[in-house]
Amino acid sequence: MLLSIEDLLKSYPGPEGPVPVLRGVTLSLDAGETLALTGESGSGKSTLLHLVAGLDAADGGRVGLDGQEVTALDDSGRARLRRSTVGIIFQQFNLIPSLDVAANIAFQARLIGTPEPQELSRLAHALGLEPQLRKYPEQLSGGQQQRVAIARALAARPKLILADEPTGNLDEATADGVMEQFLALVAETGAALLMVTHSPRLAARLGRRAHLSQGRLA
């Protein structure tokens, strides 16, 4: 089992005391498996994703990832896990605006070693980014930017890809195109995918589905 989540708890401080966001979530994912996490706004989808990635600390429960206890790691341990095991794709793309497309794609792979140039050009080709390689993020359309983010995540060859509404900022036609290429590439690399989406249509394209409602899995 690649990912196992047990009884995960998380709340955020509010004006009138803590507001619970996750109220005991249990979930697991095998290597190569794809799972769509759906739910309404504020249901805790993104929080769950952040906890899995070690971007935030849980209040209770545990997250096991690739044989490691994410919830027991310290900050630098979680950073190591993010570099080497996880690839994250954000709704806002989160590219580095001062680096060009080629450098952005290679970036995470460079954090853990020396990327293979063939792999980088294969990804750029597969995502149709070749004409854009020397451009800067601000010169790209939203769809292109997200393709760069996908390439960046995949280039590091993670075991688990976490995607938070990856097409949430794109129009439907573009979103479909991006998603098509994304899923194909994920399948090719054999990575597991945990994707947060509010679109049932997208969710249907993944292997499993889970629905989060008021901090619990339905």
């Binding site: 952040h50 990635a53 971007l55 935030d56 900050d75 630098s76 950073a79 190591r80 896990l81 993010r82 570099r83 080497s84 996880v86 994250i88 954000f90 989160n94 590219l95 580095i96 605006p97 001062s98 680096l99 450098a103 970036f107 995470q108 460079r110 954090l111 853990i112 800067y136 960046r152």
Partner: protein
């Protein structure tokens, strides 16, 4: 990983060159101000040290003759044989090729190891120095000596400008003073056993190292002003650096989040950002030092002239790069940058990887920080108050300055906010209301820049108040001291009696001026003899005096002393001052004296002539209704060269020109400080411009032109600057008071009355507004020329 992260961090600067420029330039300017002032100080100090070392004054106790200006050489031998480690010095003036040169003769074998004599000797040898009768002098004297003297000349920087160092035997011969010495330097370490001084040399007095003749101590007062100014520019500089670095960090907040999300550990990120900062600060520091060198090189001739004019101490008018200020400059840039970055780094370290929403305005202080700042301001201002009442000494004076300035800076944002809230309450029209509210919202972002402006403006008000007060007092003093219309050089006429008769016949009053050097209350001083008449009775203003002061002086029953003597010897009206053997007189008055470092005692003409029968008047002051006519008559009757008759206006003009030069340096630094503050405002506005678009776009969308918005932006900046400048006025006056009433007394030995100069303040305020206006112009121009899409994007994409 490090390479990739560094590349990501550095790529920011490649894509944002303007920001890099502002950061480097801000740091460089701050360093330049600091190191420029340091350079001037270091240079002048080095010159004094050379002077003091040549004189061997200040650092060593000395034995001086109780009377007269020399002692027999046999006393030196007697003291040595009695176990006293003393070294003889003979000095005097010699005319060399028309220039008066100060000759200092030393005995290299007994001179203290750290004196200029031994420094200079390290570069020659005994045979050359003693046997070949070598003269050692600074570079500017060498040519003169080589052209006019048969002796070999050795150039050495350690010798004070205007002085020539040689063996004591050589100098005795040149001055025609064989067997006489001027004074004895007492070495710091003395043997276990020695006979009492009084047994061997009862006619010598021991003058302690901290004597009033220490030229370095005197000129320190000037440096004090410069140093205070250096600290102020440092403070202003730190505000800019803080702003620039805060901005650089804030703009990269998103990138830093991304990097951390991609798995870069926080510690590595912080270390790399510090490394980046160190590189940038070192670069900027080096640039700043080069700039500072330029500033110093431009100002130094003025400083040298100033010091020479005020104190007669020579400063070589050349600048040498000294390691001390290189180091202090780099340290300032690094220390300042790291200090300024500390809070940014701290916030960075505590920033969660996943943000709730986009970035907050970078300097937007939380309510808690604001409360803390206000509390700190109150505490600091209270401490300043306590120090002003209870403190004594230079250190307390400076601590008071620091508390006052920092406290005031911290108090600025709450004060501005309160004033803006008042304006908002008065506003009726919607646009006006928005304007006030939006201005207030901008405060946190502009706070640091406005604090810099406050300090710069306050420094200007304070320093110009001090300078102008000094000037006013000084002019009054000149009126008092140079009250006669003409001054005739007594040596110009061979028949002195005939000259006196002529003057008595043609002038309204004749005032012979006689003086003799003396030691009063153990301090070097001059005794003046004056012919009491209406001139003195009408023009002289005393700090303290008995009612019939001039009657007492005229009758030879009392003495008037200057403030320096009064303060240093703790002599006040009613005390008795010993003027010489068997002559002690009560002090009848204390008079302000602003052009002269040493003590003065003034007695009536009759008493003076009786006590010092050998002293002839050196000059005659002449009161006349027709100075030009009398001048002509004198020239015709006695063939007096015109240069030997000086009219009061000329002396006054000369004295004032000397004085004006003193503060031309301060003026130049004033302008620079203000320029730096303007730069801080410009940078803050540029930073805020992007962040403020979301606030401006709705107003634009609701039907305001971009031009109007830009105009309001300018108005807003000028308004904030104006309020700040008004608030700076009381702060500046407080600063002036500290400088005049505390620092000046400690340094100069006299307290200056403080005058207010409203016109000057208005001028300075206009200056500050102009600076703010200039700073606001470019950002506003950019706003007015912006493509509408830039504003539209705000609605399309909420960051």
């Amino acid at each position: 990983m490090t390479g990739a992260v560094l590349e990501a961090l550095a790529s920011h600067w490649r894509r944002n060159r303007l920001q890099l420029l502002t950061l480097v330039l801000g740091l460089a300017l701050a360093t330049a101000l600091w190191s420029g002032v340091q350079a001037i100080n270091a240079e002048a100090r080095a010159s004094y040290d050379a002077a003091a070392a040549t004189l061997a004054e200040g650092r060593f106790h000395q034995l001086m003759p109780r009377e007269g200006d020399s002692m027999p050489q046999a006393l030196f031998v007697a003291l040595r044989r009695a176990g006293w480690l003393v070294s003889p010095v003979v000095e005097g003036r010699l005319r060399v090729g028309g220039t008066a040169v100060r000759l200092v003769g030393v005995d290299p074998l007994t001179a203290p190891p750290s004196s200029a004599a031994s420094e200079a000797l390290a570069r020659t040898d005994l045979n050359r120095f003693l046997r070949a009768e070598t003269l050692v002098a600074g570079p500017e004297m060498a040519a003169l000596l080589e052209a006019n003297m048969p002796n070999p000349v050795l150039v050495d920087q350690a010798v004070a400008p205007g002085s020539v160092l040689a063996d004591i035997g050589v100098v005795q011969k040149l001055l025609g003073r064989a067997g006489r010495i001027s004074r004895l330097i007492v070495l710091p370490e003395q043997p276990l056993r020695q006979q009492p001084l009084a047994d061997i040399a009862p006619d010598l007095v021991l003058q302690r190292a901290d004597g009033a003749t220490d030229v370095g101590r005197l000129t320190d007062s000037f440096h004090l002003n410069l140093t205070a100014f250096g600290f102020l520019s440092f403070a202003v500089g730190i505000f800019i650096v803080h702003g620039a670095i805060g901005l650089a960090f804030e703009q990269r907040r998103g990138v830093i989040r991304t990097l951390r999300a991609l798995g870069v550990p926080l510690r590595r990120l912080v270390v790399l950002m510090i490394a980046e900062l160190v590189v940038l600060a070192t670069l900027a520091g080096a640039l700043g030092i080069a700039l500072g060198y330029l500033i110093a090189a431009l100002l130094l001739p003025d400083v040298a002239a100033t010091i020479r004019g005020l104190y007669g101490a020579d400063v070589a008018g050349t600048l040498q790069i000294r390691p001390a200020w290189w180091l202090s400059g780099i340290a300032m840039a690094l220390g300042g940058a790291l200090l300024a970055a500390a809070s940014a780094l701290w916030r960075l370290a505590r920033m969660p990887v996943v943000a709730g929403a986009g970035g907050r305005a970078w300097a937007l202080g939380s309510g808690r920080t604001r409360t803390l700042q206000a509390a700190a301001a109150v505490v600091l201002l209270a401490a300043a108050g306590v120090l002003a009442v209870t403190g004594g000494g230079l250190a307390a004076g400076f601590a008071l300055l620091a508390c006052l300035l920092l406290g005031a800076a911290l108090a600025l944002p709450p004060c501005l906010a309160a004033i803006l809230r008042l304006g908002e309450a008065q506003a009726v029209r919607a646009m006006a209301q928005w304007f006030w509210a939006d201005t207030r919202q901008q405060l946190p972002g502009l706070g640091l820049a406005l604090m810099a402006l406050l300090l710069a403006m306050a420094a200007n008000v304070g320093v110009s108040t001090m300078v102008s007060s000094f000037r006013l007092t000084f002019v009054g003093f000149l009126d008092q001291r140079l009250s006669a219309e003409l001054y005739v050089d007594a040596d110009a006429v061979a028949d002195r009696a005939a000259l006196e008769r002529f003057l008595e016949a043609h002038a309204d009053a004749v005032l012979p001026i006689m003086s003799v050097e003396a030691t009063l209350a153990g301090l070097p001083a001059e005794i003046f003899g004056v012919r009491v008449g209406y001139t003195y009775r009408e023009n002289w203003r005393f700090l303290d005096a008995i009612p019939a002061v001039w009657d007492e002086i005229e009758a030879g029953r009392a003495v008037v002393i200057n403030e320096q003597l009064s303060r240093r010897a703790a002599l006040h009206v009613g005390h008795t001052l010993a003027l010489g053997p068997g002559l002690s007189l009560p002090v009848a008055g204390v008079v302000g004296d602003y052009g002269n470092p040493i003590g003065q005692a003034i007695v009536g003409e009759a008493l003076f002539r009786q006590t010092f029968p050998a002293i002839e008047p050196s000059r005659y002051g002449v009161r006349t209704g027709n100075p030009q006519g009398l001048r002509r008559a004198l020239t015709e009757a006695f063939d007096v060269p015109p240069a030997r008759i000086i009219d009061q206006a000329a002396i006054k003009a000369f004295s004032l020109s000397v004085f004006e030069r003193t503060f031309s340096v301060t003026d130049a630094l004033n302008v620079l400080t203000l320029a730096v503050a303007a730069f801080a405002i410009l940078m803050s506005l540029l930073t805020l411009a992007a962040m403020r678009l979301p606030q401006m776009a709705p107003v634009w969308a609701m039907g305001t032109t971009q031009r109007r918005l830009a105009g309001l932006e300018i108005l807003r900046t000028v308004l904030l600057a104006a309020i700040t400048a008004v608030l700076a006025l009381p702060l500046g006056l407080a600063l002036a008071w500290v400088l005049l009433a505390i620092v000046n007394v400690e340094a100069f030995g006299w307290r200056l009355p403080m005058y207010l100069f409203p016109v000057e303040y208005i001028r300075l305020m206009l200056f500050a507004l102009a600076a703010a206006l200039l700073a606001a112009l470019w950002p506003a121009w950019r706003l007015s020329r912006m493509e509408p899409t830039g504003l539209l994007r705000i609605f399309a994409n909420e960051r």
